[in-house]
């Protein structure tokens, strides 16, 4: 199950935040094919956002083929995203690298800048 967190001051449209957080959960393997997304009622009760915003986000995820709505049952994950589950060896290496960066005296912004730079170099032109 995924729990959504809405940041009112992010400047990102609320439904886009829901889409992004769902994708993030899919990438990290927190949501897997067959899992059920929370119902619109559950999401709005917890976040106090408009029900249509949730439906809009779910429609967008459905349009991208990531989830499917089953009548009367709910919305289910159809496929995962990427191959970077939360417990992969790549993550372990990244964790170790981040720890070393911190030991070397880099702060959060330094690390983010470095990471983004390398990311840009290796994934130039790829769709994000």
């Amino acid at each position: 199950m995924v729990e959504y967190r809405i940041d009112r001051h992010s400047g990102v449209a609320t439904y886009v935040q829901l889409v992004q957080q769902t994708k993030q959960a899919l990438r990290l393997g927190l949501l897997r094919p067959g899992d059920k997304l929370p119902t619109a009622r559950e999401v709005v009760e917890a976040t106090a956002i408009n029900p249509n915003t949730v439906l809009k986000a779910y429609r967008e995820l459905e349009r991208e083929g990531l989830v499917e709505a089953r009548r009367g049952l709910g919305t289910f994950v159809r496929r995962g995203l990427g191959s970077a589950p939360a417990d992969s060896p790549l993550r372990t290496e990244l964790e170790q690298w981040a720890a070393r960066a911190r030991e070397a005296g880099l702060d959060r912004d330094d690390v983010a800048a470095l990471f983004t730079d390398v990311l840009d170099k290796h994934f130039q032109g790829d769709p994000s």
Partner: protein, 294 residues
């Protein structure tokens, strides 16, 4: 059944024969299932409009329809919470809910009403007069939600509530809308607080409708631009403009696509509302005006 929850045409209300108009020429249509923010400065006519929809005031002119019928005939399906949250002070909370059950035979949702009260940690045996303003609001909302209304009219429902209760009760209202398709109209001064919960806006100013429609459509119909001072903004409708040094910033209603070097951005709901409130003479944008122009 009807797809329109609340409709008004030429609606006006004047208090006393020599009094001023609290509301005038009000035309609006709210589709069923929407959550509508009713916004406007003090004295704009918000409470008057809600009381007209609830059937507690009679219009001086024009007509108002709720759930496809006259307000008085729809009363059993309409929940209304007035600004002063009227309750019987000598009753206990439990008695108040029992009264709700007795007044709404056949459609009383005791579970929801009790859950709303319980979420506020209130003792059912406490008398209403011993409650704080915010606690009273909770009981009044429990009573309105227990009725399981098709249309919920809330006059400043969040004003007395602490941030936690506000979030909790707004969540409860949204859950009601998600589950039963309840149409909700709520007034507030705090636009930011409504932005994520409402999908429809009704902005009143000076007793008239200034903006009405889906929030996404209203935002998309406006643009904030920053251009060199002296730029001619015609033929676009200018809601507000300000020149600072060499720069002119404005909130526009574009008549055609804007030049790409105008650095146009979509305004936030709060910016849109504030611009219109600061400029009461700006042209109104309502579906009625679009129809008139078409």
């Amino acid at each position: 059944m009807t797809d329109t929850a609340f409709e008004a045409a030429g609606l006006g209300k004047r208090f006393g024969r020599r009094g001023g108009w609290a509301l005038r020429d009000c035309a609006l249509r709210l589709p069923a299932g929407r959550v509508c923010a009713l916004v406007g400065p003090n004295g704009a006519g918000k409470s008057t409009l809600l009381a007209l929809a609830a059937g507690l005031l009679a219009p001086t002119e024009g007509r108002v329809t709720v759930l496809g019928t006259a307000p008085a005939a729809a009363r059993a399906r309409v929940g209304y919470v007035a600004q002063d949250k009227p309750l019987h002070p000598q009753l206990t909370i439990a008695d108040t809910l029992r009264m709700g059950a007795g007044l709404n035979p056949g459609h009383w949702d005791a579970d929801t009403a009790e859950r709303v009260v319980a979420a506020g940690d209130l003792d059912p045996k406490a008398k209403v007069r011993s409650l704080s303003g915010g606690q009273r609001t909770r009981v009044a909302l429990a009573l309105a939600l227990g009725k399981r209304p098709g249309l919920l009219l809330l006059d400043e429902p969040m004003a007395d509530l602490d941030p936690l209760a506000r979030h909790d009760l707004m969540g409860t209202l949204m859950a009601q809308a998600a589950q039963y398709g309840t149409t909700i109209v709520m007034s507030s001064h705090v636009v930011a607080e409504l932005e994520d919960s409402c999908d429809h806006l009704l902005l009143l100013g000076g007793g008239r409708v200034r903006l009405a429609g889906e929030i996404d459509d209203l935002l998309a119909a406006h643009a904030r631009v920053a251009v060199p001072a002296g730029t001619d903004l015609a033929p676009h409708t200018v809601v507000e403009s300000r020149t600072t040094g060499r720069q002119l910033t404005a909130l526009l209603r574009p008549a055609s696509p804007l030049p790409s070097d105008w650095r146009a951005t979509t305004p936030s709901l709060e910016e849109l509302v504030l611009s219109h409130l600061r400029n009461p003479d700006a042209l109104a944008l309502t579906p009625a005006h679009e129809e008139a122009a078409a």
